[in-house]
Each structure stands twice: as C-alpha cells, then as structure tokens.
C-alpha cells in the first residue's frame, strides 16, 4: 500500500482517475483485511510437497519411457529399411534431403523479398 502511494506520487495521473484508484484501493483493502483465508497446518503443506514430488517422478518416468520407445521404434525402422529394403531407405533419404533444401530456399527467397 505504501509502495503504491509512492508510485502514485511519482506518476502523472489524471485527476478524474485519482478517485477511482482510491475506491479500488479501499475495495481491495477490505478483501485483504477479511478473514476469508484459512491457512492449513504445516503437515498439510508437507503432504502436498510429498504428493507433488511423487507426481513429478511419475511424469518423468513416463516421459523417459515414451521417449525410449519412440526412439527404438524409429531406429529399428531405419535399420530394417537399410538392411532389408535399401532402395526404400535411400529413396526416403533422397526425398528428405531434397525437401529440406527446397524448404529453406523458399524461406530464404521469402525473407529477401520482404526486405
């Protein structure tokens, strides 16, 4: 509140809005002073921390497992294509290379045109 008043002193505020700010301040102060908030005991907060840490760990395990599975799937598909159907493997490699080259050329041309 005091910080707020200091700021207001340093700032040019429309006279008409001064009353509005005062009203807002009064209203918010009544919320601040109300006893609407019940603070639970320290054990409740400790339980919250323990539960949340468990959730973070579960999420991490899930993410790492998913990443490993997807990586293995991609790698095995590539290896299978390379050793069993090399034609398909090299065709995909070629297409991807051409796509990347075309994509970046178009982006570069667009940027040059814009400037």
């Amino acid at each position: 509140m005091t910080k707020q008043r200091d700021l207001r002193d340093n700032e040019q505020i429309d006279e008409g809005l001064f009353e509005v700010i005062k009203e807002i301040e009064l209203g918010l102060e009544s919320v601040e002073k109300s006893d609407l908030v019940y603070t639970p005991n320290i054990e409740w907060f400790e339980n919250l921390v323990v539960e949340e840490k468990k959730n973070i760990r579960k999420k991490l395990i899930f993410d790492v497992t998913l990443f490993t599975l997807v990586a293995m799937l991609v790698l095995s598909t590539i290896l299978f294509a390379l050793y069993s159907i090399p034609v398909v493997f090299f065709t995909i490699q070629g297409l991807v290379t051409i796509f990347i080259a075309v994509y970046f050329t178009i982006q570069h041309v667009k940027q040059v045109k814009e400037t």
């Binding site: 509140m1 005091t2 910080k3 707020q4 200091d6 700021l7 207001r8 008409g16 809005l17 009353e19 509005v20 700010i21 009203e23 807002i24 301040e25 009064l26 209203g27 918010l28 009544s30 919320v31 601040e32 002073k33 109300s34 006893d35 609407l36 908030v37 603070t39 639970p40 005991n41 320290i42 054990e43 907060f45 400790e46 919250l48 921390v49 323990v50 949340e52 840490k53 959730n55 973070i56």
Partner: protein
C-alpha cells in the same frame, strides 16, 4: 536460507515457505479472480508448479512476487482454455458469491470491487498489480509476458472502464431512489 533448503529438496523447508506465503497468495488470487473457491484451487496448483520449477528461481525478485507471477499465468491460461464455456453471467455470479461471503462476515464491500469484476481479466490483473501492490509496469510486463507499454495502456483503459461502471452504478442507485 529456506529457499536454498527447498531447492536442495527439503520438504519441511518447502512446507514452511508455502505456509508463510499462503495467505498472501490466496488473498492476491481472491482480488484477481473475485472467486474464493477458484483462488484456493489455483493456490494449490501454483504451489505444485513451484515445486517443479524451484530450480528456475534466481532470487531476482521476492519469492512472493515469483509465486504471484506463476499464479497469474496459471489463471490467464485457465481462463483462455475456459473462454468458450464461460459466460458473463457466470463471472457475475462469482463476485456475487464473494460479496455475500464478505457481507455475511460484516465486512465492507464497495462498488469498485463489482466494477473490477465486470472488466476483463487481462485488464483487472495489471490494475491490481499496479495500484494495489505497487509493481512497476516493467515488473508487471515481465510477470504477464507483455510489453510495459501494453500494460500501461491496459491499466489506463481499465481505470476508465471502472470509472464508467462506478458512474453507471451511481446513476442506477439515484433512479432507484
């Protein structure tokens, strides 16, 4: 000291930090959302996010400011997701409930709170942060991931909207008499 211990995984330090900051956080959220139930829900989500991101806290601002910055972004994201289903009537119902809760405790309710409840969240938040908590436009911009200029214009336009609402309220009251 507490923050350092919490960073190294001490659950008691975390719990103490949260217990100290809980009333400040929930009261900030009540002012912003005008909804006590949602505020408690968001406070829990904020603490959960804080446990996850504590390694990112760099002591640049107060811990309480960092907490309300997380809470503000959680609330904005939640409102964005709910935008389609939310209606103006629902918002009005929320602050009517707060009004009723405060009045039943013999606490004062002023029209500025009703007027704040009628303006958009992304305008209400910077007004509260600026004119109640005293944060600078730069600090609010950092919290809300917006430029200080945008914050300044939102605060100014928001104050004009609140003034308009207050005048409307006055006129309605005069007509009712």
């Amino acid at each position: 000291m507490l923050i350092q211990s919490a960073k190294s995984g001490d659950k008691r330090a975390f719990a103490t930090l949260f217990q100290h900051n809980y009333p400040f956080l929930v009261k900030y959220l009540i002012k912003v959302t005008l909804n006590p139930d949602l505020s408690e829900e968001l406070a829990q989500e904020t603490m959960a996010r804080c446990i996850e991101k504590i390694h990112l806290y760099q002591y640049k601002s107060k811990f309480s400011s960092w907490l309300i910055s997380i809470a503000t972004n959680l609330y904005i994201d939640q409102q964005r997701r709910k935008k389609r289903e939310k209606s103006w009537q629902q918002e009005e119902e929320n602050f009517r409930k707060l009004k009723w809760q405060m009045e039943s405790r013999n606490e004062e309710w002023n029209d500025a709170l009703s007027a704040l409840g009628k303006i958009a969240n992304d305008v209400r938040i910077p007004i509260i942060l600026r004119h109640y908590y005293g944060y600078s436009y730069d600090e609010i911009g950092e919290m809300m991931k917006l430029s200080p200029g945008t914050i300044k214009s939102r605060v100014h336009n928001g104050l004009l909207a609140v003034r308009k609402e207050l005048r409307l309220n006055d006129e309605t009251e005069r007509l009712e008499r």
